[in-house]
């Protein structure tokens, strides 16, 4: 076994650098903006270079036909006779994610310099951003489920900090709490799964020269045991871990935090809630894929139960998100529900098609969704904080660059045929769903969701960019975002284009949104073979896989149909007035309002879980106030009572005793004073009496 390469041993530098940068920024004052931004961007850049080194290393291993999975483990904690080891792993999956996260992160950091330039908490923002980046990179390189979980939690923490960045706004604070709590519910399942895995396999390392938890021997043993409902241990552990992934990646029913998370600044939404953090869930499933896909030998043809669950959940989520996005009016919320929908697609891809299918869409989605969010940020910045699409319009002429890049992202998201990356990745997913042996329903869900995706994106484009600008009336309040910019900074001349520091990342992302697609074409499935460690060839024969052309054509038709539908409803007559009702609303009011309230899921949760929690809290408060407090009060009353009793005793008994004693002394003194009366005869008498006594005594004794 060749000695581990330098890059593998020092893989820890990649997450460590941003974390150290975050620590340094934390001790800076708010004034030193350039230093803070410089530290964050610099550390991210160096991490990007190191990620490229790692990627190059994996490529060289591949070309030399060596095993491309490299690990570096070291012992960490000892308890009893066991050692808990930590470590990091470098395999194609890791290298790909590292590259993607560092690159997109770098671009978003640069974008934030311009976006947050008016905010007074600039330094704090970069501190949190750097911390988040470090933690996310830690999740990616972790070879130990415990290390992954620790970094996972830090990611959740920084997400909370960043969503609630403008914590003075109660909506933002509430949204941050909601995000944290909902992901926590998922993390509970994750923790249970982790503990069970440790109990089952005796190790939490993924790959450890044959002894790791994801290596064949331990998977085989997990498969052999059966537990509740007749499921294998492997299935149950996988499902528990999937709970964590579902929480982080916003699968139904734990999706409710994602739309509210849009209260955070737009770069945050772009980085965390489009490209990276939500992808962490998908990444987790991909990492745990050996366990999740493990199937008993007798049933080798059918997918494992865990993967079936993943596919179903993904399909439902894809449809759900797309339906709701049709009826939203906040530009970021549309994108948020779109993200939920696309995450559903990714899970579906993982479940039905495997790691490469899901990860391909993750990769392309990261770029075009980040592009869309940053474009939305540019729009919001240009409109001085306005987020409601009813109050936008006509921005095509005012913000041309933004319009161009946004269009590229939108077409990629829809999956416009052939030239945009979204087409290729979504197509892979639909193809896998089409070929899924269990059922075709996920395929139909995915297809319908693709139609809806095209529809709502077109709707959004027409609302925002077409027609004339619908300025907000004076009574309408702009969103708190960008409220830090005083009106004198942006003269009220209406929407304007953003500065170049914000535009350059947009352009870069747009380029990638187009180009990345070509990495995974069926003709040249470079990405798939990279991830699955197979040799890659360029051949048109890839197109001849059975059913592939049919799926490609049908998905193209669906996308174009969606675009046309959108144009039909929204494009022919531009929306004249902000207060005008949405045409769909006009047509089907009840359906529209259900969709716009997100199927009332939030209201349901509020009525059930939140109310139950409130009741429980009220009971606990009652308990605390009356019973524990009462106990404490009783004890203290007892003590006070004792104090009073003591005082009473002291005053009346002790004092009185003392007084009586004194009186006794003075009384006896008075009596004794009579001895000294000065009367001689009295003295004589006493003397005589005493003499008698003595004599009697003496005689008595003598008489014995």
């Amino acid at each position: 076994m060749p000695p581990t390469a330098w890059i593998v041993r020092n893989l820890w530098l990649i997450p460590a650098l941003p974390i150290v940068a975050a620590g340094c920024i934390a001790v800076l004052t708010q004034k030193r903006r350039a230093v803070a931004a410089g530290l964050a961007i610099g550390s991210m850049f160096v991490s990007f270079l190191l990620a490229m080194c790692a990627f190059a290393h994996v490529l060289t291993l591949r070309t030399h036909d060596q095993p491309d999975l490299q690990v570096f483990n070291f012992p960490w904690l000892q308890f009893g006779h066991q050692w808990l080891s930590l470590g990091w792993v470098l395999d194609p999956l890791t290298a790909l994610m590292l590259l993607m996260v560092t690159f997109v992160g770098l671009l978003i950091f640069i974008f934030s310099v311009g976006y947050m330039s008016h905010d007074e908490n600039f330094t704090r923002f970069f501190c949190f951003l750097a911390l988040f980046a470090g933690a996310m990179l830690g999740v990616i390189i972790a070879n130990n489920l415990l290390l992954l979980f620790m970094c996972w939690e830090v990611v959740g923490l920084t997400s909370y900090l960043l969503i609630g960045f403008w914590f003075t706004n109660p909506n933002a604070a509430a949204a941050a709490k909601k995000a944290f709590i909902v992901t926590r519910i998922g993390d509970l399942g994750f923790l249970l799964g982790m503990v069970w895995l440790y109990a089952q396999s005796g190790t939490l390392l993924f790959y450890d020269s044959g002894a790791g938890a994801l290596e064949p021997s331990s998977i085989a043993s997990a498969l052999a045991q059966h537990t509740i409902f007749g499921l294998t241990v492997a299935t149950v552990i996988s499902l528990l871990i999937f709970c964590g992934a579902a929480g982080k990646s916003g699968q139904v029913p734990l999706h409710v935090w994602l739309p509210d998370a849009m209260e955070g600044p737009t770069p945050v939404s772009a980085l965390i809630h489009a490209a990276t953090m939500v992808a962490a869930g998908v990444f987790l499933v991909a990492r745990m894929y050996p366990l999740m896909s493990a199937q008993v030998a007798a049933l080798a043809a059918t997918p494992s139960i865990a993967l079936q669950v993943v596919t179903w959940v993904g399909a439902i989520t894809a449809l759900f998100g797309a339906l709701i996005a049709v009826a939203q009016f906040d530009i970021k919320r549309i994108l948020a529900y779109s993200t939920i929908s696309q995450l559903g697609y990714m899970m579906m891809g993982l479940g039905a098609g495997g790691v490469s299918v899901g990860m391909f869409h993750l990769l392309t989605h990261a770029f075009f969704k980040a592009l869309l969010f940053l474009g939305a940020g540019s729009i919001i910045h240009g409109c001085s904080g306005e987020q409601d699409i009813r109050f936008m319009g006509g921005l095509r002429k005012r913000m041309p660059f933004t319009f161009a890049t946004y269009t590229a992202g939108m077409l990629a998201l829809c999956g416009f045929p052939l030239f945009f990356s979204g087409f290729w990745s979504k197509d892979e997913i639909l193809f896998s769903a089409h070929g899924w042996s269990i059922s075709h329903i996920p395929f139909y869900f995915g297809a319908f969701a693709a139609l809806l995706t095209a529809f709502y994106m077109t709707r959004q484009m027409f609302y925002v960019f077409a027609g004339a600008h619908r300025a907000a009336p004076a009574t309408h309040e702009a969103h708190v975002e960008d409220a830090a910019s005083p009106s004198l900074h942006h003269p009220p001349a209406g929407p304007h284009e953003s500065p170049s520091v914000m535009l350059v990342p947009l352009v870069l992302l747009a380029a990638f949104a187009v180009l990345l697609g070509f990495l995974g074409m069926p003709a040249w499935p470079w990405l798939q073979s990279f991830l699955e460690s197979e040799p890659v060839t360029f051949s048109i024969a890839g197109f001849y896989a059975p059913g592939l052309i049919a799926v490609m054509i049908s998905s193209s038709v669906i996308v174009i149909a969606g675009l046309m539908l959108g144009w039909w409803v929204y494009g022919r007559r531009p929306i004249a007035d902000a207060s005008a009702k949405d045409p769909l609303d006009h047509a089907q009011h009840r359906v529209f309002s259900t969709l716009s309230h997100a199927f009332y899921v939030d209201a349901l949760y509020d009525a059930t879980f939140v109310r139950a929690a409130n009741i429980f809290a009220a009971i606990s408060a009652w308990f605390d106030r009356w019973i524990w407090n009462g106990l404490v009060q009783t004890i203290s009353a007892l003590v006070i009572g004792f104090g009073y009793l003591d005082g009473f005793l002291d005053t009346h008994l002790v004092n009185t005793a003392f007084d009586e004693g004194c009186k006794g002394v003075s009384g006896s003194a008075r009596l004794l004073a009579r001895l000294q009366s000065g009367r001689i005869q009295l003295y004589l008498r006493y003397i005589a009496a005493a003499c008698i006594l003595f004599v009697v005594l003496l005689l008595w004794r003598a008489a014995r």
Partner: protein, 103 residues
Amino acid sequence: MTPLSSYLLLSAFLFCIGLAGALSRRSTILVLIGIEIMLNAANLNFIAFWRYGPNPTALTGVMFTIFSIAVAAAEAAVGLSIILAVYRRTRTTDLENTEASER
């Protein structure tokens, strides 16, 4: 009863009379008289014991008695002069006169 014990009894009787008088009478002079009686009783005791004692030729009892008489006389003189002095002050010889004793 032997003659000695009868003498002793008499002397005791005299002593008690003198004691009673000294303790019970109000006038100081009468207290002094009581004291004289007591002294005499003691003298009688001495003589009786001398007479019936083991060694009468030693004259111890007689000597003692003579000295006792002398002392008693001196003491009577001094006591009476004290009573006179007090009388000049307080104009009374009453022992229980509270005005005199308070002064």
